[in-house]
Amino acid sequence: MIKLSNISKSFGKQTILQDISVNIAANQITGLIGPSGTGKTTLIKCLMGMEKYDAGSIQIDNTTVPNRKLLNKTGYMAQSDSLYHDLTGLENIQFFAHMYGRKISNKTVQSTLNLVQLEQDKKKLVQHYSGGMKRRLSLAIALINQPKYLILDEPTVGIDPVLKLSIWDQLHDLKKDSTLLITTHIMDEAMKCDQLLLMKNKGIAASGTPQEILENFGVSDIDQVFLKLEEQEYENAAAN
């Protein structure tokens, strides 16, 4: 279980996260959605120990972040592709597999590559990969250590609809052993999550299952939730 208590984070004078407290349920897919620039990536980097949060505490399995050992059971996919372009796909995934210390079998590497349908192109240099292929390879690398916590920052950008569906099926299969946190801007993907966290104005504006959120706001899709939130804000400002 991931537990955030009173997290605040600012870059210089700009406050990005303010007093966020939320629990991310185990063995569920939690979707983190919100307008561009609200701080989703920042929140994830705090979870990974890559950014220092200014106040509050983050606990994963009762261990306080940052902690290097925690990274053993975490898989991370950054918003931008982080691959060695002068290595092949296979070399990339093998290299990162070795970084987890314990032996990761060739079979695991192969099945992970199969999952993202890169088996055919594994011997190609990454610089000759298409955008979607790079995204898939990054996803495969995030999965390689069969992590207990899987944190994916916009994993399906540039992936075609058919493959996207199969990837979502795989992600739901992973729930058996893992807890997933996924950011996305695509609303039908958001609907596939078990839990949603709506980020707005430096904090979590709403949370719950997609159905709960839709009912609470009395709307038929998630996009309208954000419009409602804007309206509420506007009314509050007018009332003051």
């Binding site: 120990g49 940052p66 950054a78 982080s82 290595l87 990162f96 070795h98």
Partner: protein, 404 residues
């Protein structure tokens, strides 16, 4: 072993990058070879035209391996421009004039040096001849005085004793004069008025001979610095450093992986440069080649550490290049090419913070003066200290990307 895997990955990447390989191995060889031929061979002969110059000066010039053309009336400017000689030496009423075209500083040195030496030598020869004459005269004179004294002595024996006692002192003085003249005439005027003796080596060093060992170190430093910095920058800007730090790898494992991964190539590069300089370009080394290796391998690790460190302060390749005039070029001046002891005091304070100051000067000590390992222990330890400091700073610097 995560570090081994990191090293393996770096090797793979470098070996695939043909351009970096060329930069590492071919570029230094190219530049060193070029310099070897740009600087004139000290054994090359210089031609000097002599106008109105006495034979003994010409003899001396020729003794100094210069080709002397004796000319009478020539128009100096066109004569030199046509390439008849490198310089024209002329005497007029005891005034010596050396005319040089001055379009190539390389010819100038030997011509000026050779002719001024010749003129000086001939003047000294004249002088010593004069001194010899003078001494001869003095000896004649003192012989005369002696004769006189002897006759006085004889006379004195015939004088009454009281008078003779008063004369004693003068007699002593005479003896003194005698001894003095002897000593003076014993100073032998040799053929060579000045004998130059060298403490190290048996010839004066040409600029290139001093430059060569420094250059070896400079290239090791420069290319390793650049390649380490660039690759760390690439790792950072491509996001792979962040991805790497999302795995449980230790920050020190990354820094040491980089140090050893690129260290392998740095060592190979050092070996290629040294072996090429010594065996192909015939660089003479008084000390041991092993010591050269030790100095440069340590230096390359310093360069690696510094390159990695500075790459964390830049955000593009171009900004990395901007460090060259700031960090690399100034070090050349302190690397042994110029004498630090005679520099401004504040510059003397700067010198000890520069790794190339230690490496360059130690290379000169080993290559030209044949220093042993024991004698270069201090600069070597300082280089090790640099490595330790840079590695530590790099590990601390990684905190920017991950807090543990």
């Amino acid at each position: 072993m995560r570090m081994l895997q990191l090293i393996k990955r770096i090797c793979k990447q470098v070996l695939r990058d043909k351009r970096t390989l060329a930069l590492l191995f071919l570029a230094p060889i190219f530049v060193i070879t070029l310099l070897n031929y740009i600087f004139p061979d000290p054994d090359d002969e210089v031609t000097i035209a002599a106008v109105n110059v006495s034979d003994d000066v010409i003899d001396i010039l020729e003794d100094n391996d210069m080709i002397v053309k004796q000319e009478n009336e020539i128009d100096i400017k066109p004569y030199l421009e046509d390439g008849n000689a490198s310089a024209v030496l002329e005497e007029k009423d005891g005034e010596w004039t050396l005319t040089i075209l001055n379009d190539n500083p390389m010819d100038e040195g030997p011509a000026i040096q050779g002719s001024s030496q010749a003129v000086m030598e001939s003047n000294l020869n004249d002088l010593s001849d004069n001194i010899d004459d003078m001494i001869n005269n003095m000896e004649d004179m003192s012989a005369g005085v002696k004769d006189m004294m002897e006759s006085i002595n004889e006379m004195m024996t015939q004088l009454p004793p009281e008078v003779a006692q008063n004369m004693d002192i003068n007699m002593d003085m005479d003896v003194d004069t005698d001894i003095d003249t002897d000593i003076d005439s014993e100073i032998d005027m040799d053929e060579d008025p000045i004998t130059v003796e060298y403490i190290y080596g048996d010839e004066s060093y040409t600029f290139f001979e001093i430059l060569n060992p420094i250059l070896v170190s400079f290239f090791v430093f420069f290319f390793v610095f650049l390649i380490a910095g660039m690759s760390m920058l690439k790792e950072r800007s491509s996001g792979t450093l962040e991805k790497l730090l999302s795995t449980p790898i230790r920050k020190s494992e990354i820094v040491f992986g980089y140090l050893f991964g690129y260290g392998i190539f740095a060592i190979l590069q050092t070996a290629v440069i040294i072996l090429y300089s010594v065996y192909i370009l015939d660089m003479e080394i008084a000390g041991s080649i092993t010591n050269m290796f030790i100095i440069n391998i340590l230096l390359s690790l310093v360069a690696l550490g510094l390159g990695l460190l500075l790459s964390t302060f830049v955000s593009s390749e171009f900004q990395m290049i901007q460090f060259i005039p700031l960090v690399i070029i100034p070090q050349i001046f302190f690397s042994g090419m110029l004498n630090v002891d005679t520099m401004e005091p504040w510059l003397q304070w700067i010198a000890p913070i520069m790794p190339l100051y230690y490496a360059g000067n130690t290379m000169i000590d080993v290559v030209l003066k044949g220093f042993t390992l024991g004698e270069i222990m201090v600069p070597l330890s300082i280089l090790v200290l640099f490595i330790v400091v840079f590695v530590t700073l790099n590990i601390l610097g990684m905190r920017r990307y991950r807090k543990v």
